[in-house]
């Protein structure tokens, strides 16, 4: 047995079952008598529904039932938005699970067929006749906010769902006085999350007990239960939500969707289990997308490159409806991070949340922070170019100096701890920055187009505290809870309300318990995902699972330890204050031979033959943990690219990441998160983008057109880390799930722009596809 397990890069216990295909996902679950649903989806991005005639489908082979919006109306409630940003004049137009009068994006649900097989259900969909009256369509979020744009919701003028403003310092004065001002318009295109497992829902209604069981691909089963209650009216305690193995989410499995409500409706109507599983094509059309920002941004600086102000106007596309958390993403998770790792005394921003005729937009890995980091890092590079200094040096002179316990920034938030300059230094030295610049100079002299991108970042994660959640309109708490239960044999269950789905917390949470009370890591099993056997919790997103749920486990484990110490004292006939603890053993100070192991204690507590006066039997503890602040991981990344000016192809040649997420529980898992995160941010810089045509049809509707990152297009990702503990977290950890994605988009973007600068190219929209780069080069050559 070793207790050094905390902090070591042990292998993920999840992996054998995942890699060998033995994990059980929602779609793997088959119940007796189960029927299958297929959902008819609008082929129009914007249209009035004149009529729906489902009679043709009813008699098709295998068809058991067909329902339309007429049937669900008044039975299912509308889908709620759960992040109601205060002071933003937020409009929350109705979002019926099945559209009855109007459709607002391609994929909006119009009818559902329930049949004995999915094939039969799909075939029957073709027999439903819908009479649409097509309406004008708008996709671009800035265009959607203009006068005269097609009106998507009756009661939302100019499609503006909310206007959120942020001001710190005196930005106008800063710009008026500035020696240098730079500006740009940055597009952060729509992204499709592409979890390996599409979404799925299996609903089982028991008329006998009035209980609804919902197996669902959710990152937050307790929220899913709460919202299932809101939408179906089944009381919360009669709903059990089970998120079995969930094959990735990246934010897209946070929201509560029409599909699970429809599936529950069908089961409740028919009294048998009903399953619906998304096809990949549906996933592209209806599962929430990310980003969709148009950002008009400016930075003010002194002639020496000291940043004095930042000003933004952002149009954030929301899609046809508000998704569960969508208003919070381009505001709280975005605007509040405008200072980045820099001292920027004057900051102001306005964010328009705008409906457009695309798939609803919600959190996607990084959620708001890549959109902030990209604009900041782009502007810092423009300042560097304007003052003729090295971009790394301009960063260095503006970084907030090292702090260990709290630093206030102009946006009104307080970073927990940071050592940004050390991260930058580590990254520059790991990359060999000076040598790279020398090689670049040589390459340029040889007529080659080589670029180096640098970025520094800090991000906000580990969401809560709950008080702040409430203050910013989040309709829930952001604490987590954990139960640690010892059995007589010394084996342990840990039950958490968060819901890991690929991140590896079954391993790291066991490492926390092993580290705190000295049990063997293999003696600890982590349970999550089932609302019936886990305590309440708010779920896995925002890099909060280890930061918040992990803290709850640490606190509960410390309670276990204190009870164990008291019981050991009783059994060893010593005073509790004379009991020392080391590596899972409690012993009388000075006589380590006189000891009880944690297993001895667990056995005695469970049989309770000999307990101290007043001590309850059992060895179990629970903790509710509400963090006092967010955590703020940070780092610096460097990328090297070469552009082929003849074709516009970009070759990403090196990528160096230094991230600081505080104390690391398992460095291998941290490295894996950074690795995947970096790649997920490189994607949008170079390849990825959901494109809708003018009619609102998704042009990149499959993996044939939507270019996900591929291993052979990427260099080895060089991952390094520093460790600056969070001052307020019981274990000193911060989140690491999103850091890579937040940093890598601007790093690669800046590298490409650095490569193109000598050619006179000043702007190219992401993704930097070969044709766009080729055109930008040609335009610049032609004096454009």
């Amino acid at each position: 047995m070793t207790t050094r397990i905390f902090g070591s890069g042990i292998r993920r216990r999840e992996d054998p079952r995942l890699i060998t295909g033995r994990a059980s996902y929602t779609d793997d679950i088959k119940l007796p008598g189960m029927l299958h649903a297929a959902i008819l989806r609008s082929p129009y991005a914007h249209a009035n529904i004149r009529s729906v005639d489902a009679s043709g489908a009813a008699g098709q082979p295998g068809v058991v039932a067909v329902y339309t919006g007429e049937d669900t109306d008044g039975v299912l409630n509308g889908l709620p938005c759960a992040w109601l940003i205060p002071g933003s004049d937020l409009k929350t137009p109705a979002h019926p699970p099945v559209a009855k009068d109007k459709v607002r994006y391609v994929g909006d649900a119009v009818a559902v067929v329930v049949a004995e097989s999915r094939y039969q259900a799909e075939d029957a969909l073709e027999h439903i006749a819908v009479d649409y009256e097509p309406l004008d369509v708008v996709i671009n979020p800035k265009a959607a906010a203009q006068d005269g744009a097609p009106q998507i919701h009756e009661d939302v003028p100019n499609n503006i769902a909310f206007t959120w403003a942020l001001a710190g310092g005196d930005t106008d004065a800063a710009f008026a006085d500035a020696a240098v001002t730079v500006g740009d318009t940055i597009t952060l295109q729509r992204l499709i999350a592409n979890p390996m497992e599409p979404r799925s829902a299996l609903a089982q209604w028991s008329a006998a007990t009035g209980e609804l069981t919902l197996w669902n691909t959710s990152q937050n089963p307790h929220i899913a239960r709460f919202l299932t209650c809101v939408v179906t009216g089944v009381p919360e305690h009669k709903i059990r939500v089970i998120a079995p193995e969930v094959g990735g989410g990246f934010g897209s499995k946070i929201p509560y969707y029409a599909d699970e409500a429809i599936t529950a409706f069908c089961s409740m109507k028919l009294g048998v289990p009903v399953k619906w599983t998304e096809t990949r094509s549906e996933n592209y059309l209806i599962t929430t997308q990310g980003r969709d920002h148009i950002e008009e941004v400016e930075m003010a600086a002194t002639s020496d490159g000291v940043i004095t102000g930042l000003r933004t106007t952002v149009y954030a596309g929301l899609g046809g409806y508000l998704s569960t958390a969508s208003p919070g993403v381009p505001t709280i998770l975005h605007g509040l991070m405008y200072s980045g790792p820099y001292n920027i005394p004057n900051i102001s921003g306005t964010v328009y949340g705008v409906f457009n005729n695309g798939c609803p937009v919600d959190a996607y890995r990084g959620a708001g922070r890549p959109e902030a980091t990209t604009l900041i890092e782009r502007l810092v590079d423009l300042v560097a170019a304007a003052v003729g200094q090295d971009p790394a040096e301009v960063r260095r002179k503006n970084l907030i100096p090292k702090f260990e316990n709290g630093h206030d920034v102009a946006t009104g938030i307080t970073y927990d701890s940071g050592d940004y300059e050390s991260a930058l230094d580590s990254c520059l030295s790991a990359a060999g920055y000076e040598a790279l610049r020398a090689e670049q100079a040589q390459a340029r002299a040889d007529g080659r187009c080589v670029g180096i991108g640098v970025s520094s970042y800090v991000e906000i994660c580990g969401l809560g505290p709950s008080q702040v959640a409430g203050a910013v309109g989040f309709q829930g708490g952001l604490w987590e809870s954990a139960i640690i239960r010892f059995y007589p044999t010394g084996k342990v269950n840990v039950m958490v309300g968060s819901s890991p789905h690929g991140q590896g917390e079954e391993t790291t949470f066991a490492q926390i318990v092993a580290g705190e009370v000295g049990v063997d890591v293999d003696d600890v099993e982590v349970l999550h995902g089932d609302t019936d056997n886990t305590p309440m919790g708010w779920g896995t997103y925002g890099s909060r699972t280890t930061a918040v749920s992990g803290a709850a486990i640490a606190v509960a484990a410390r309670k276990i330890k204190e009870k164990s110490r008291a019981l050991a004292a009783h059994l060893l006939e010593a005073a509790p204050e004379d009991i020392e603890y080391e590596d899972g053993r409690f012993f009388v100070r000075g006589s380590p031979d006189q000891h009880k192991t944690i297993q001895d204690i667990a056995l005695m507590a469970n049989v309770a033959w000999n307990m101290p006066e007043g001590m309850e039997p059992g060895l179990e503890a629970s903790a509710f943990y509400d963090p006092p602040n967010f955590t703020y991981p940070f780092g610096a990344h460097v990328a090297v690219v070469e552009v082929d000016p003849e074709t516009g192809h970009i070759d990403l040649q090196r990528y160096v990441a230094v991230d600081d997420c505080g104390v690391q529980i398992n460095p291998m898992i941290v490295e894996g998160q950074v690795h995947g995160g970096v790649v997920q941010g490189v994607g949008p810089a170079l390849w990825e983008g959901a494109v809708y045509d003018d009619d609102g049809q998704l042009v990149t509707g499959s993996m044939l057109d939507y270019a996900l990152p591929r291993a052979d297009l990427l260099p080895e990702i060089e991952v390094h880390s520093n460790s600056t503990p969070s001052p307020h977290h019981p274990l000193g950890v911060k989140g690491i799930g999103e850091a890579g994605t937040i940093a890598s988009t601007p790093t690669v973007y800046n590298a490409v722009m650095d490569a193109l600068r000598p050619l006179g190219v000043t702007r190219v929209d992401m993704p930097l596809t070969p044709e766009k780069v080729w055109r930008a080069i040609n335009d610049a050559r032609n004096g454009g």
Partner: protein
């Protein structure tokens, strides 16, 4: 991703396949399924009858034939990529096969399916056009042959009658000492060719004695680049000659330009010249 209801037949022989096609209007042949099944899953194709030819041994394999090699229609990209016979007689075909999709696609996808599907973004149709291959076809009335350049008739359309089966492809050996190359601009998502260019060059006494060049991905079917070939004839295959010849490809691209969200028609045309130039450079360096 759920194909419509259909009837499935497995043909034991070419004759049976031809019979099944004749008996069932709208029937489709199924080979490796890597082009047809995705269309069916998207319900862009919904054949009522599928005739699976995947187990007909007579359609498999590569053999030496008079003046070249014969490749059975069911031969996979992977087999072509690793075949010694192909390497000796038409190495450019192996070079292109190795660039098709990914390993799963190369192990399932067949050359017959690839050319029959007539997707202009495919690789082998371009190479076979440059090689001057002949496609051997069996129908109810017997056998016939179709020149590679005449086989694709448009976007996803070929010269086969509804009840004909492509059985094999005859590929003439490249001249001895010839240099050949296929270069490809892969779409980052699908890996299909945005532009693909094939070149086979022979030199004699320091001058280009024969040139065969084709370009795909730009128009609805591969184009034989006869203007490029003419410009190369007799040239020294030096950089200037190759530059000038590649630039002539515009003259070979007068038909239907294609463009999409990833690469516009204008860009594809510009890239045709760039990729032809690169193919010429690689082929010239291998000739001798």
């Amino acid at each position: 991703m759920f194909p419509a209801q259909l009837t499935y037949h497995r043909a034991g022989s070419v004759a049976e396949a031809v019979q099944l096609l004749s008996d069932n209007e709208g029937a489709k042949l199924l080979a490796g399924g890597h082009s047809l099944l995705p269309l069916m899953k998207l319900r862009l194709a919904a054949p009522a009858v599928l005739v699976d030819i995947g187990r007909i041994e007579a359609l498999k394999g590569i053999s030496a034939s008079d003046g070249g090699i014969t490749i059975g229609a069911l031969t996979t990209h992977a087999e072509i990529a690793s075949s010694d016979l192909v390497q000796q007689n038409a190495p450019v075909l192996a070079e292109a096969a190795a660039l098709v999709g990914d390993p799963a696609v190369r192990n399932r996808g067949t050359i017959g399916g690839s050319v029959s599907h007539a997707d202009p973004a495919s690789d082998q149709p371009t190479v076979l056009t440059a090689l001057g291959a002949t496609f051997n076809v069996t129908g109810p009335g017997g056998d016939r042959s179709i020149a590679a350049a005449d086989f694709a008739t448009g976007l996803l359309e070929n010269a086969l009658n509804d009840n004909e089966v492509l059985t094999s492809i005859s590929v003439p050996s490249v001249p001895s000492g010839a240099g050949s190359a296929y270069v490809k601009f892969s779409h980052p998502a699908s890996r299909y060719a945005v532009v693909g260019a094939a070149a086979i060059l022979s030199v004699s006494g320091g001058a280009c004695s024969s040139a065969s060049v084709a370009v795909g991905g730009v128009e609805t079917k591969p184009a034989r680049a006869s203007s490029v070939e003419a410009a190369l004839a007799g040239s020294d295959l030096g950089d200037a000659a190759l530059d000038a010849a590649a630039a002539a490809v515009g003259g070979d691209l007068s038909g239907d330009p294609m463009g999409d969200v990833f690469a516009s028609a204008e860009y594809r045309r510009a890239m045709a010249a760039v990729y032809v130039r690169r193919a010429l450079g690689a082929a010239a360096s291998r000739a001798g």
